[in-house]
Symmetry: C2
DNA sequence: CTGTTAGCGCCTTCAT
DNA sequence: ATGAAGGCGCTAACAG
């Protein structure tokens, strides 16, 4: 293996100069730099990051904690993270927690062992900043909720859901059922809040009988929709708290011969790529997944590198995407 | 920061013994081990992986090179990889190449710099083992094609596609169009081969006029399907080389008022989670994505750890999943 | 602008 | 079964 010593020898310089030529080129004479570069070429040198890491006590890597990498929304957030990390010279570890506390703890431990310089958490923030207070390393939430402490990134979940409900109300719907996420899930809570607000503002009472709690999976969307369609009077619209459940709902409606949007309007949340191509195309709330990941990554790296980071919550803009599934009723 | 020296002091032992107690417990007296553990607890010690890595010249991490992490199939393969890596004490870096040669080279370089001990490549193998021959580190393909060298993992793409085409032929279809991937894409090539074989075995001629090349995206499925539906006589079935294009095709057919499967049968490939929940539910070929990633990861770690790995190509079983989209015709 | 030198924290001989 | 000591490859003071 060729080391920095070989380069120094070949160039007739000290290892310190070679090191500087690489990591702080401006501190080295132009001519010297060229000599270093030639020597590197000649001996076919590649810096050993393991040594750099130990010496600098940094891993130059980040850990993304994600409840499930196969979830398209999280995958998009991760892509945004990776993109910024790449630009700034960091690598991205993925830690798929599969909602298991054991796995999450394992990953927390590995960061304490210096595997990574910080964590980007994609799970919603159940524990407020409990976890953060405990941690000896920086953590940034990329998909925060209303309770998430700064610095973090989120969208206005409640506001977005309120707008979506208002869209349905404006189209004449009065009996709008909701397919929410797990009862304790912070995103589900925020979004459900927006749904209630819209109903109340419109003078429509909130009726728990037409609210179901799924688990954000398509299967749970199918079940909830079946269930709701058996009700009398039947809801005329289904407000789903993510796209997967909406896609499941559409399938369930088709299975019982109901037309979307003719008989029942359906809306989603996230705008994953499949939303635009479902049949019918899904009306949904677009979250800027990529930008959320990118921003969270910026914040984390700034914090790691000791830059002053504004202690603020970055609320990124969402956007209603009206497609076919929300109407008009036939 | 507390180091192994602090533990040694607290336990009244040498650092060597502490190190051994941790990495080779059987070489240390039971009683001594207990003392070490107590000391670790007491001084709140966590091993520094950066130091271990330098000392052992290993990163204990793997790099997954993936063309796009947002692709559900690749995300599932990645989940399989992560799962095995976790069990065996390795971490997983993700390198999203976005089909950019620059990014791929960047990641290759970082592995040469010891960022990772080996690579799992999810892109199909265009370069045969060109890349591998050049590399100074092990590479395993998790989604190989017929040309991929061992050790690697793949399914029988041609065979699977032949079976799917035969399924359509058995249902009475004679004019079966294909929506393939990019012309040079090895998976597309293998699958197209299976399609031709089935046609020829059934005495139906291969007709390039009803074959389109998409890029595996839903949008390209939409375009190709529109195009094919304008033909006279109209194909009665659309064999798509992945699920995304099939989902796009279904949408395009609905848009022009054609019923699936009543007017046109549609099939996909991969069995991503959305296939089961499209409307109508998609007939497809299930690839064992998780197992492919897991197996590839086993092979790579074995190779890294110097275990004898069988120089063989692991062809994992696929499975035809017949759902609604493939018929029967009405 | 360049060189000398001292470790970063750990593991692994080698010796006892 | 345990201890002493060297060194992995690099960078950051500190000198010059």
């Amino acid at each position: 293996m060729t080391t920095i010593i070989d380069v120094a020898k070949a160039a007739g310089l000290s290892t310190a100069t070679v090191s500087r030529a690489l990591s702080a080129p401006e501190k080295v004479a132009k001519e010297t730099r060229a000599r270093v570069m030639r020597a590197i070429e000649k001996v076919d040198y590649r810096p050993n990051m393991l040594a750099r890491n130990l010496r600098s006590d940094r891993a130059f890597s980040l850990l993304v904690l994600v409840p499930g990498i196969a979830n398209p929304f999280f995958a998009n957030v991760t892509a945004g993270i990776e993109s910024v990390a790449w630009q700034r010279g960091y690598s991205v570890f993925i830690g798929d927690t599969r909602d298991s506390r054991e796995r999450e703890e394992h990953y927390e431990r590995s960061v304490e062992m210096r595997l990574a310089d910080g964590v980007i958490q994609l799970s919603p923030d159940y524990g407020f900043d409990e976890q953060r207070r405990r941690a000896s390393y920086p953590i940034v939430h990329a998909c925060g909720c209303e309770l998430t402490a700064a610095p973090s990134v989120r969208i206005d979940n409640a506001g977005a859901m309120r707008e979506m409900a208002e869209h349905l109300i404006a189209a004449g719907h009065r009996r709008i059922a909701a397919i929410s996420g797990p009862e304790q899930n912070p995103h589900a809570i925020d979004r459900l809040k927006g749904y209630r607000e819209a109903l109340e503002l419109a003078g429509i009472g909130y009726d728990p009988a037409i609210v179901r709690h799924g688990d954000f999976s398509m299967g749970s969307g199918v079940e909830a929709a079946k269930d709701l369609m058996a009700l009398t009077p039947r809801p005329t619209a289904l407000l789903c708290m993510n796209d997967e459940m909406a896609i499941g709902a559409i399938q369930a409606l088709a299975a019982v011969g109901l037309d979307v949007p003719g008989d029942v309007a359906v809306t989603g949340f996230d705008d994953i790529s499949f939303a635009a191509h479902s049949t019918p195309a899904l009306t949904t709330v677009a979250q800027p997944a990529d930008a959320m990941g990118a921003k969270a990554c910026e914040l984390l790296i700034d914090e790691i590198e000791g830059k002053e980071v504004e202690e603020k919550v970055h609320v990124l803009p969402h956007r209603l995407v009206i497609r076919e599934s929300s109407g008009p009723p036939r």
